[in-house]
C-alpha cells in the first residue's frame, strides 16, 4: 500500500512537523506530540515489528530524562553532547533489560519487563541524591542556539522537530533494512526464523537496544521541554501510557505511532479541561479499539485509503485457483 511506503511515511512526518504550528496554540503541546511520537514509534518497533510487548519503555524514557537533568544541571556538558549520551545510556540499559527479559516468552516476558519497570522506579526513588527522589530534578535548561536559550516554546519546537525528522528517518531506514525484515520474520514465526539460521535472541536484543536509544533520547528532550526531570517519567504509568498510545495508533507502520501519540495527547488535553474523570472515556476508546479496530487508527486510515482508491484488499483466493499450477506437476 502506497501510504505504508517509506518515502510516503517520511513525507507525512515532515508534513506533521510543518502543520502542527497551524493547528495548535501551545508550542509545549506540539513538542510533546513529536517527542511522544518518537517514543511510541520505538515501542512499535518492538510490538509491531518484533512482536514483543514491553512494559519497560518508561525505564528508558526516565533514563533519558534523568540523564538530561543530571548532566545539564550539574556539569558543563552541552546539549549537543548530552543527547547522544542519553541514546547510548538508553542502549545499554535496554540491552540489559531486554537481554534478561527475552530469556522467557509470552506472559513471562511481559511480567519480566513489568518487574524491571518497578525495579527501576524504586531505584530512582531510593537514590534521591542522584535523582532528586520525589521532587525530581528541577531547572533543567533548554538548549542554546547562537548564544540564545530556546525559551520560547515554538523555537524549542523547531529544535525538537529537526530531531524528530532525523530520528524518524533513521527508524524508517532500520525497518526497511535486512535487519528490519528479519525482525518481521521473528514476529511471524520465531521457530522457523531460528530453524533457517537466525540467532533470534540477538535480533530481539538489538531491537530492544534501538528502542531504548530512541526512547531515552526522547526522554532527554522531554526533560528540557518541561524543565524538570520528574520521578513520574520513570513510573510504571509512563510505560502504560506508551503502550496505550502504541495500540491506539496501530502497528502496521511507523507513522501509526505518531497518530497514536497525537490522538492520546490531544484527547487528554481537551477532555481533562472539560471533565476530571476523562480517563473513563479513554478506557472506552481502548475498548472500541480492542474490539473493532485491532489495527488501530492507522488501520482505519488504511481502510479509508483503500476505499478512496478502489484498491480494496484482494478477496481471499480460492485454493483451487492456485492449485492449477500445471507447471508444478512432474513430467
Amino acid at each position: 500500500m502506497l501510504i505504508n511506503k517509506p518515502f510516503f511515511q517520511f513525507g507525512l512526518v515532515v508534513l506533521t512537523v510543518l502543520a502542527l504550528p497551524f493547528f495548535l496554540r501551545s508550542g509545549i503541546m506540539a513538542s510533546e506530540i513529536l517527542i511522544y511520537g518518537m517514543v511510541v514509534a520505538a515501542s512499535n518497533l518492538l510490538l509491531g515489528y518484533t512482536g514483543l510487548l514491553s512494559f519497560g519503555q518508561g525505564i528508558f524514557f526516565g533514563t533519558g530524562s534523568y540523564l538530561a537533568g543530571i548532566v545539564l544541571t550539574r556539569t558543563g556538558v552541552p546539549v549537543g553532547l548530552m543527547l547522544p549520551m542519553a541514546a547510548v545510556l538508553g542502549t545499554v540499559i535496554a540491552t540489559l533489560v531486554g537481554g534478561l527479559s527475552i530469556r522467557r516468552q509470552g506472559v513471562y516476558f511481559v511480567m519480566l519487563t513489568l518487574a524491571f519497570s518497578q525495579l527501576f522506579y524504586f531505584l530512582a526513588y531510593t537514590f534521591s541524591d542522584l535523582t532528586g527522589g520525589d521532587n525530581g530534578l528541577l531547572d533543567v535548561p533548554r538548549p542554546m542556539l547562537n548564544g540564545e536559550q530556546l525559551v520560547d516554546p515554538w523555537s524549542y519546537y523547531a529544535y525538537v522537530g529537526v530531531c524528530f525528522v532525523l530520528v524518524f528517518a533513521a527508524m524508517l531506514l532500520v525497518t526497511q533494512s535486512t535487519f528490519g525484515r528479519t525482525l518481521i520474520a521473528v514476529r511471524e514465526n520465531e521457530e522457523r526464523a531460528a530453524a533457517i539460521g537466525f540467532p533470534v535472541r540477538v535480533f530481539k536484543i538489538a531491537a530492544f537496544a534501538i528502542s531504548g536509544a530512541v526512547t531515552a533520547f526522547a526522554g532527554a528532550l522531554h526533560a528540557m521541554l518541561i524543565g524538570v526531570a520528574p520521578l513520574s517519567s520513570i513510573e510504571y504509568h509512563t510505560s502504560e501510557i506508551i503502550l496505550v498510545m502504541t495500540i491506539i495508533g496501530g502497528s502496521s507502520s511507523l507513522y501509526a505511532s505518531v497518530l497514536g501519540a497525537s490522538f492520546y495527547l490531544l484527547m487528554a488535553d481537551t477532555l481533562s479541561s472539560i471533565w476530571p474523570r476523562w480517563l473513563l472515556l479513554l478506557g472506552l476508546v481502548l475498548v472500541v479499539v480492542a474490539l473493532f479496530l485491532q489495527k488501530g487508527l492507522w488501520g482505519l486510515v488504511e481502510k479509508i485509503y483503500a476505499l478512496l482508491t478502489h484498491n480494496r484488499i484482494p478477496p481471499e483466493v480460492e485454493p483451487s485457483d492456485l492449485g492449477t499450477d500445471t507447471t508444478a506437476k512432474g513430467e
Binding site: L173, V174, Q176, S177, T178, F179, G180, R181, T182, I184, A185, E188, N189, E191, R192, A193, A194, A195, I196, G197, F198, P199, V200, V202, F203, A206, I210, E316, V317, P319, S320, L322, G323, D325, T327, A328, K329, G330
Partner: protein
C-alpha cells in the same frame, strides 16, 4: 535411486542417546549418512524417529553420544549454529512466514546462512545479490515463480509443502533433514515431492523421516528402521522390506510399496 552415492560420510552419529528424565527415547544409535545419498528413517509410532530428528537438528541436546558433520563435532551446537555449518531442515507441520510473500520466505532462508550480515541496519535486504539469485533459482526449481509475490499462507497445500522443502534448500546446506515431507499431501503432489527429493541428492545429502512406504522404498539408498529407540535394521530398501524383524516390528502394518 541415486547412481553415484559416494563413499564418504556427511553426517555420522556414534552411540547417540536422548533421555527425558528417566525415559530413554533414543539409545545407542550409530548412523553413517553417506554424502549425496538419500537416507530414510522409518519405524512404528514411538520408535524415536522424531527424537532422533530433533537431536540432529539441534533442538534437543543428546544425553550421550556424538554427532559429526563432515568429520567435525557438532554435538553441542545450537540449531541456528548448525545451519551455518550446513544442516537445514523442513518441518512436518508446514512452518512458513504466512503473511510474507513466497519470495520473501525464500530470501530469508537464503539470508539465514549468513545471519550476522542481517544485523546491518543500514543495508537494504535486496542488496544481498547472492541471496536474491538463490531465490530466483529456487522459485524456478520449485515451480513457484508464478506465485512469487503471493503471501505464503495463501498457497495451495502442495505448493506450501514444496516451499517448506525449498526453505531448507535455500540455505544451500550440505545435509537436508526432512520431517515427513509428504505429510497430508494428495497423490499428484506426492509424485512431485518424490521427484524433488530425488533431485536433491545431486547437490545435497538427504535424510528424511517418512510414513509413506512407497516413497521410502522407491527413492532411498539406505533405510534405517528404528524400534523402541534403537536401531533395528539398516540397509538397502529391498533388504529392509524382506527382513522378518521389520515385519514383526510393524505387526500387521504391512510394508507395501513397490520398488521401482
Amino acid at each position: 535411486m541415486t547412481q553415484t552415492a559416494s563413499t564418504t560420510d556427511a553426517l555420522v552419529t556414534k552411540g547417540l542417546g536422548v533421555s527425558y528424565n528417566k525415559f530413554v527415547a533414543l539409545a545407542d544409535v550409530d548412523l553413517n549418512i553417506r554424502e549425496n545419498s538419500v537416507h530414510s528413517i522409518i519405524g512404528p509410532n514411538g520408535a524415536g524417529k522424531t527424537t532422533l530428528f530433533h537431536a540432529l537438528t539441534g533442538r534437543v541436546r543428546p544425553s550421550s553420544g556424538k554427532i559429526t558433520l563432515g568429520g567435525r563435532d557438532i554435538t553441542n551446537l545450537s540449531d541456528n549454529e548448525r545451519v551455518r555449518r550446513g544442516i537445514a531442515r523442513s518441518f512436518q507441520v508446514t512452518s512458513l512466514f504466512p503473511d510474507l510473500s513466497v519470495h520473501e520466505n525464500l530470501r530469508l532462508a537464503a539470508q539465514g546462512r549468513t545471519p550476522w550480515q542481517a544485523l546491518a541496519m543500514w543495508r537494504r535486504a535486496e542488496s544481498n545479490h547472492e541471496a536474491m539469485a538463490t531465490v530466483d533459482e529456487m522459485l524456478a526449481r520449485l515451480s513457484l515463480t508464478r506465485v512469487a509475490t503471493r503471501a505464503a499462507g495463501e498457497l495451495a497445500h502442495g505448493q506450501q509443502r514444496r516451499l517448506e522443502v525449498g526453505m531448507a534448500m535455500a540455505a544451500r546446506p550440505r545435509v537436508i533433514l526432512m520431517d515427513e515431507p509428504t505429510s497430508g499431501m494428495g497423490i499428484d503432489d506426492i509424485e512431485t515431492m518424490k521427484d524433488l527429493i530425488q533431485g536433491l541428492a545431486s547437490d545435497h545429502t538427504v535424510l528424511f523421516i517418512e510414513h509413506n512406504m512407497g516413497i521410502v522404498m522407491n527413492i532411498s539408498d539406505t533405510v534405517t528402521v528404528l524400534r523402541l529407540g534403537r536401531k533395528l535394521v539398516e540397509g538397502p530398501p529391498a533388504m529392509v522390506r524382506d527382513d522378518p524383524e521389520v515385519k514383526k516390528a510393524y505387526l500387521g502394518n504391512m510394508i507395501t510399496g513397490d520398488i521401482a
